[in-house]
Symmetry: C2
Subunit: 188 residues, 2 copies
DNA sequence: CTGGTCATGTAACCCGTTACATGATTTC
DNA sequence: GAAATCATGTAACGGGTTACATGACCAG
């Protein structure tokens, strides 16, 4: 029941269509939640029925019509209630970690390749998050922006996202180095 | 379909009962996966039926009997297949991040308190992971252990877990500082 | 003319969570 | 005497993933 709150939180930044939200919630920029497009369209419909968001149909030329959503007063109240409720602890669930946990009992080569790939993905995300942060803070430095900026929520979550990806990259490269060294040693 | 692989990976370390696994997969030490006891008991039964793990009933005095599980040859083969398959990217799903994303539109006080609580939890996990790491490497230093240790998978995932919790703690305290400063400024 | 982007959905299935159930032993 | 620990499950529900479906426009 938290996807709806993630959607409401995302819509605080302005009007967005399901498609735009889907891009943000899919792999790419999802720095605070992840969901697939199908889920979003369904949840947006529900939210609209319940009056937590309001949809506005916008006809475009040369493109399909889209529906732009905004948070209503009731939506804001729902967010407030959510913020006050105790947060459930967040858990890790990662295929790659499971594979590393089992790396002593399986072919290390395959795991190494996937660690490399994950490091590449992390690298790309670090760059995207960096650009996002710069765009959000504009010409101000970070200190100033965090002290006086009007909307810092997305900035803080984006900082966390970047930090997470940096560590992911660091850990992956370290693990690759360790595993390769052991492979080389065992071959002799 | 990845919980089964997480279970198989956990059982590589030796024989464990559902109860012991539940403790590890619940909040506490779950450094590479998380699951509730009910899920584990169910999945262990399935794995046993499929011949991927073997259960052994152990009667105890003064305590209920327990079932200890070990990975079978077929279980190892299944792990190997899993390791070779492409890993799906891991995604963040965290209530607290959603609340921070929305912090400009809701009462900041409640979010601050939850950030503090999360920092405390992270602190506790950092200590637990530290102890685990020391126990795993014994009297060897980290370099030596990672070069020559017989089982390094759990060590690597534990390192990742500790790193993650350290950053969680750092980010939470930073966010609290920023939000408190803004609260103080707006009160004037 | 193939593939990518824009744009929105429905339906089936399965995994994960919540709730419920039991019972003995040890610790405070 | 209450609460925590040891020990293992069943059942219902709901959210998330996978698969399926449609259709117009634009770039190479």
């Amino acid at each position: 029941m938290a996807l709806r709150h993630a959607l409401l939180a995302a819509l605080l930044d302005g009007e967005y269509s399901g498609y735009q939200l889907a891009k943000a919630f899919d792999a790419g920029v999802a720095n605070f939640w992840h969901a697939l497009p199908q889920q979003l369209y369904l949840e947006l419909s529900k939210l609209e029925k319940e009056g937590l968001v309001a949809g506005r149909r916008v006809v475009q030329e040369g493109r399909p019509a889209k529906r732009l959503f905004t948070v209503t007063g009731a939506g804001l109240a729902e967010l407030e209630r959510f913020a006050l409720a105790p947060a459930k602890p967040s858990f890790i669930r990662d295929d790659l970690l499971v594979k590393v946990q089992a790396v002593d009992a399986v072919t290390a080569g395959a795991v190494i390749e996937q660690l490399r790939e994950r490091a590449r993905v992390a690298e790309a995300k670090i760059i995207v998050f960096g650009k996002l942060l710069r765009r959000m803070r504009g010409d101000r430095d970070e200190e100033t922006f965090l002290r006086a900026g009007e909307r810092i929520g997305p900035y803080l979550t984006c900082l966390r996202g970047r930090q997470f990806e940096r560590e992911t990259r660091a850990w992956c490269t370290r693990a690759v180095a360790v595993l390769r060294a052991r492979e080389a040693a065992s071959r002799q």
